[in-house]
């Protein structure tokens, strides 16, 4: 799937991945890829700015640790992020139902 098709949905997908627990950047990307059945093939480098934007918005928080001698940044969902994810799910269901009804009705 082309990256442009994901515009507007990436934030919600990142929040959904982090709902399952704190993850470092590559684990977030891996979960995104696995969770979508390999359909979403985004350049992984563009995921980090999105995570930083979510942190700036207070929806996730990050912390640094040292693993195998290198610095690692991990992300987790905040309470505001959990609420935002719930809202996004409602919006998505309505959006998907509307699009499906239009596209799948001959």
């Amino acid at each position: 799937m082309r990256p442009e098709a994901l515009k507007g949905h990436l934030d919600a997908m990142l929040l959904a991945v982090l709902e399952r627990g704190p993850r470092h950047g590559y684990a977030v990307i891996d979960a995104l890829r696995a969770g979508s059945g390999g359909r979403f093939d985004l350049p992984t480098g563009t995921i980090y700015p999105a995570l930083h934007r979510l942190e700036e918005a207070g929806l996730v928080k990050s912390s640094w640790s040292v693993v195998s001698g290198r610095r690692r940044r991990s992300y987790e969902l905040t309470a505001a992020g959990q609420r935002a994810l719930s809202d996004e799910r409602v919006v998505w269901r309505e959006f998907a139902a509307g699009v499906s009804s239009l596209l799948e009705t001959p």
């Binding site: 470092h24 950047g25 590559y26 684990a27 990307i29 891996d30 350049p43 992984t44 480098g45 563009t46 980090y48 700015p49 999105a50 930083h52 934007r53 700036e56 918005a57 207070g58 640094w64 693993v67 195998s68 290198r70 610095r71 690692r72 940044r73």
Partner: protein
């Protein structure tokens, strides 16, 4: 797993295209390096050798220009905040420095009068007020308090540029007053103190101008 030269080269290329504050950039590059090493480890079993795994990890990460471009809003935010903080920090510091520098001399030997002094005083006061207002607006607007409103990069850029011009006008007006005093009553000034304040003012102005320039350039790069 250690960092492969392919990954180091990619990180170095990216570093050259991320014109953000040093500390911010170090964090971003550490995160990317960790991700690439993890990616390389994930591909190590399927790849022929370490170089192939590293190339695959780098390929997945995306072209350097595309990745750097994705950071543009973050860089603009960082420079806007830096410029705003600098302007807000410099104004009180300059007020203290010039107050001390102009009071240590025999002030009573100077008897100012005329419209010029009033104009200069008005310029200093309005310049300081405008610079504080604009810098404060940019800082508040880019801070977490108002994060829900979203970041209006162009508006904050305008605020920072206005603040830097206002600081410059205030300092130039102040220098005009000092020059007038130096010409009409040179004995009323303690010259080492005045020269030290002058040097600090010029350095501060250069710092504000540089920060405003970086803010302006980085905002222009936001897609």
């Amino acid at each position: 797993m250690t960092c492969h030269p392919v990954i180091e080269r990619y990180v170095a290329d990216l570093s050259a295209r991320l014109p953000g504050p040093r500390r911010w950039r170090a964090g971003v590059l550490d995160e990317i390096r960790d991700s690439l090493i993890e990616g390389m480890a994930a591909h190590r079993d399927a790849a022929h050798d370490a170089a192939a795994a590293a190339l695959q990890a780098v390929g997945e990460h995306g072209p350097v220009d595309q990745v750097a471009s994705a950071y543009a809003p973050e860089i603009a935010l960082a420079w806007t905040r830096r410029a705003g903080l600098l302007a807000l920090g410099i104004i009180p510091a300059m007020a203290i420095v010039w107050n001390l520098a102009l009071r240590v001399g025999p002030v009573s030997a100077w008897h100012p009068s005329g419209l010029g002094l009033h104009v200069a005083a008005a310029l200093i006061a309005s310049g300081v007020a405008l610079a504080c207002g604009c810098s404060g607006t940019a800082l508040l607007g880019t801070g977490r308090l108002f994060r829900i409103a979203g970041h209006q990069h162009q508006a904050f850029r305008l605020a920072i540029c206005t603040a830097s011009v206002a600081v410059t006008v205030a300092v130039l007006a102040l220098l005009g007053v000092v020059t007038a005093r130096a010409v009409t009553a040179p004995g009323s000034l303690e010259w080492p103190a005045v020269l030290a304040a002058l040097a600090m003012s010029l350095a501060a102005l250069a710092g504000v101008a540089r920060a405003a320039y970086r803010c302006s350039i980085s905002v222009r790069a936001v897609p």
